[in-house]
Symmetry: C2
Subunit: 198 residues, 2 copies
């Protein structure tokens, strides 16, 4: 199946172990925040800290695994044409908008979109951690200072994941101004069942 | 008050808004994982992602604020003599020990120590996020690769926090081999009530 996530919105999908999820930036320059929980057990959730620890890098691309808070692999990155992703920053929320965009209209952000999309699967908003921010361009200076720049993705850039356990995955089309250069765009995704053993 | 946390153990303390918490490395070269939850409301918890976002740096020292998942300031760093801290990696757990030290005796790690210390205040183990790893020395290479090195602290180095809300704080004396150069040492802490307005 394939579908489009409209600008500034979010969805949730169930993946069986072995399913392949491809997240595509159809126009270029857009970000998609991704969360994952164990299907049927929202206490097990994607963890940036465990992932950084076990993968021993902040730069997660083809071959990297995304780990849960219980030290299990949730997703493997199978293919990746994007210049970068981010796993440092939490999804933008009403608090983020108040902090960074006090003069802009309020929006519940990727945080609110993920909370709404995953609530039916038992995830509480307080339990939403740092998402894997697909295509997000966060730079780290030698002194540790970070900056959020527009993504360097071209139209059609994508990242492909394999589900390593049964999951519910939340995905957004980003709502924050800085993350996507101020232009809100859609995100496309495709899901295919694995037919070969691995 | 002041107290010593024995090697490879953890404690929890309640802080009123305005209280000053000083965490001291008495021998040098030791790490203390710190978590904080809102007193009476464990759904509000320390967040590395919110902190990185609002402080716009990975290098948190004097003047930096540590933020909650609900975008409120929990603690401010008032004074800091240590060369570095880390806010990227999750507390070591049984999973961490299996992954990195399969030939070493199993230990429930800072994760287990924080879980035990904070359980009486309503925090569930699954909800434990990345802790603020006081004195921990994590380097980031230009290609994003990270490495855990022994802390550069000298005996008596300390970091002093002010509680910006009523908190329960968990603190450990680290249990992982890499974090402290393989020598398990105690951690000291002091708590003083603020007597001046601010």
């Amino acid at each position: 199946m394939s579908a489009r996530i409209p600008p500034r919105s979010g969805i949730a999908v169930r993946l069986a172990r072995g399913d392949i999820l491809t997240v595509i930036d159809p126009e270029g320059g857009q970000v998609s925040d991704m969360l994952a929980i164990a299907d049927g057990d929202p206490g097990e959730i994607l963890s940036n800290g465990r992932t950084f620890d076990y993968e021993e890098t902040l730069r997660l691309t083809t071959g990297a695994r995304l780990w849960s808070n219980r030290s299990r692999v949730m997703l493997t990155i199978m293919e990746d044409t994007a210049p970068q992703h981010d796993f440092l920053l939490t999804p933008c929320s009403q608090g983020t908008f108040r902090h960074f965009y006090p003069d802009k209209p309020m929006h519940h952000g990727c945080f609110g979109n993920l909370a709404d999309a995953l609530a039916p699967y038992g995830l509480e908003a307080d339990a939403i951690p740092t998402a894997f921010n697909i295509f997000m361009n966060v730079t780290i200076a030698p002194d540790g200072r970070i900056a959020v720049l527009p993504p360097g993705t071209k139209p059609g850039d994508f990242v492909r994941f394999r589900a390593e356990m049964d999951l519910v995955v939340g995905l957004t089309a980003c709502s924050a101004y800085a993350s996507n250069g101020g232009s809100f765009k859609p995100i496309d995704y495709e899901i295919a069942a694995t037919t070969t053993a691995y």
